[in-house]
């Protein structure tokens, strides 16, 4: 269990603009993903937790141990924090064999256990056969397993991973995910993982935290964040289409509906508590929930006319992208029949309309 409140201020310099990181969060067991664009402060957050960077102020508590407390002047050295860190470049010591890398991590264990623990770890991470090799003689997957294994050997209270999948091809990525799932099951060590890959959040994350420009903008399960982004900003970060700026025309709490104007089109949506007539809000609907058909005649209720710009074909479905940032996912067979249509209508089922 980690509770962190971190503030770190960087003054503007010749090379960079001023930047303030200000995040507060709690994360329990399981994998928690720090998601956000490059330069949002994700890695900086990890570095503050590991003790590489001293926050300007704040408090970090890990399993009841205070790692940092600006007000009380507590700032444990990285050696005392017991945070495992998996670096983007793995940081395996190049002048040591794989076994020696692990032995280095095991040195803080009781003497009698070291050898056994190293051998066990090599076995568990399928590295026994290559234990005598130097890092540069290993495959990418082996290096990655070794760096995770080395971090875990020191019995950390939390495992921090900095963009572990960056630059990996599909199969190595799949291998990493399965290794991490294994880690979650076998070790129960909480994992904090930095990524800017949304699929990774879903693949691995029990929780996700969205960080943008140094601030935490949303925290929840990946599913809930995707279903209900807190702000238009988050929705953009998540790469969501179908963000519609609408004006509230009518609100009917008794029937649990609202009427919304999107340009010349009228949409029926769910009742919006806490909003007033005439408010401008953003709603969105996931492309999978949009019903798309070629246009014939005037759009009816909850329909929007749209011009097809691009069709991205996938194995089972086709993702249609329309002018104005609208998108729909339709079954491949539907698309085949209408592939020459340029003008479409998009129907938005009221129950799938979400307000941000």
């Amino acid at each position: 269990m980690i509770q962190a409140h971190i503030r770190k201020h960087f003054r503007a310099s010749r090379e960079s603009a001023a930047f303030t990181l200000d995040v507060g969060f709690e994360a329990g067991p399981g994998v928690c993903v720090l998601f956000g664009p490059s330069g949002a402060g994700k890695t900086l957050t990890l570095d503050c937790i590991a003790g590489f960077t001293r926050p300007s102020e704040g408090r970090i508590v890990l399993d009841g141990t205070v790692l940092f407390d600006g007000a009380r002047g507590i700032d444990l050295r990285p050696q005392e924090r017991r945070c495992g860190y998996v670096f983007q470049n793995y940081a395996l010591f190049p002048h040591m064999s794989l076994r020696e890398n692990l032995e280095f991590a095991a040195e803080r264990l009781p003497k009698l256990e070291r050898h056994r623990r190293v051998s066990e770890t090599l076995e568990r991470f399928r590295l026994t056969e290559v234990a005598g090799r130097r890092p540069h003689e290993l495959s990418g997957g082996q290096k990655q397993r070794c760096s995770i294994a080395r971090a875990l050997l020191a019995a950390p209270r939390i495992l921090l991973l900095d963009e572990p999948a960056r630059g990996l091809d599909q199969s190595l990525r799949a291998e990493l995910y399965s290794t991490l799932r294994q880690v979650r099951q076998a070790f129960g060590t909480p994992v904090l993982l930095v990524t800017h890959d949304l699929d990774e959040c879903f693949e691995l994350g029990d929780e996700m935290m969205v960080i943008s420009e140094g601030a935490m903008v949303q925290h929840g399960t990946p599913r809930s964040v995707l279903q209900q982004p807190a702000t238009v900003d988050v929705a953009r970060l998540l790469g969501l289409f179908n963000l519609l700026p609408v004006e509230i025309k009518a609100l009917d709490p008794s029937r649990n509906v609202s009427r919304l104007a999107f340009g010349e089109f009228e949409l029926t949506g769910p009742y919006l508590p806490g909003r007033l007539l005439g408010d401008r809000v953003s709603v969105f609907v996931r492309p999978e929930h949009v019903l798309a058909a070629p246009r014939d005649g005037r759009p009816g209720g909850n329909q929007i006319a749209a011009t097809l710009e691009r069709a991205a074909e996938r194995a089972e479905t086709v993702r249609l992208e329309f002018a104005g940032g609208l998108a729909a996912v339709v079954p491949r067979s539907d698309y085949e029949r209408h592939r020459h249509s340029r003008d479409w209508v998009l129907e938005v089922p009221p129950q799938f309309l979400r307000v941000i």
Partner: protein
């Protein structure tokens, strides 16, 4: 002719002893200073670097003069030395070690600092998260990563110690059989018109320097390709 002539090889042995000791001193002090320069930020860091590099550009006699003032019999450090060891430092072979050290250490500091600055800090950070203390990290992670360039710098420092003339003659003088190093002995031999002795010593120094340079080049990463 040379073979039958008796050459006093004392200056060569003295120079080798002086160079070995001054190089050991350079490695101990130089790598430490280079580590501080490469890894710490403090006020006046570049000023310190400039002062440490001064011996590379100053005429050796100027450096020798400074040293003479600094550790001479009248100076405070000079008196301390005399009080501890019972004899003055200047005009002894130990002074020649100090002279060679100050003449050559900057070379080692420069190359060690450059090498240390290229070390990827993620290795040191990783070692920290694994619980290793800073001493362990320095000797078992950082130093092994820069061992080749540091050894190359050491070889150059050794060659420079071996060949020092100006600082040595100012500080240690030219006492045959006591402080006369090989560079000074060659000068002496030429002055005295003793060409055969000069040639023998010159060849010996050249051969050693060549070997040292060859080693340094083998060690420096650029030549490894």
């Amino acid at each position: 002719m040379i073979l039958r002539m008796s050459v006093d090889w004392f200056p060569l042995w003295l120079s080798l002893r002086v160079a070995v000791l001054s190089t050991l001193l350079s490695v101990a002090v130089g790598v430490g200073l280079a580590y501080v320069l490469a890894n710490r930020d403090f006020r006046g860091k570049e000023a310190l670097d400039a002062v440490l590099s001064l011996p590379l550009v100053l005429p050796p006699t100027v450096l020798g003069y400074y040293l003479l003032v600094l550790v001479g019999r009248e100076s405070f450090p000079g008196r301390i030395y005399e009080w501890i060891f019972g004899q003055p430092l200047v005009f002894t072979w130990q002074a020649a070690v100090l002279a060679a050290f100050l003449h050559s250490a900057p070379l080692l500091i420069k190359s060690a600092r450059a090498a240390l600055e290229t070390v990827d800090h993620s290795f040191e950070r990783a070692a920290r998260t694994l619980g290793a203390n800073e001493t362990v990290i320095f000797f078992r992670i950082t130093l092994p990563l820069v061992v080749r360039p540091v050894l190359a710098g050491t070889a150059l420092a050794f060659a420079r110690s071996l060949g020092d003339f100006g600082v040595t003659i100012m500080l240690a003088g030219n006492i045959p059989g006591r402080t006369q190093t090989i560079a000074v002995a060659i000068y002496d031999a030429v002055e005295a018109g003793n060409g055969a002795v000069a040639r023998a010593l010159v060849l010996a120094v050249s051969a050693i320097a060549l070997v040292v340079l060859w080693v340094a080049n083998r060690l420096s990463p650029r030549a490894a390709t």
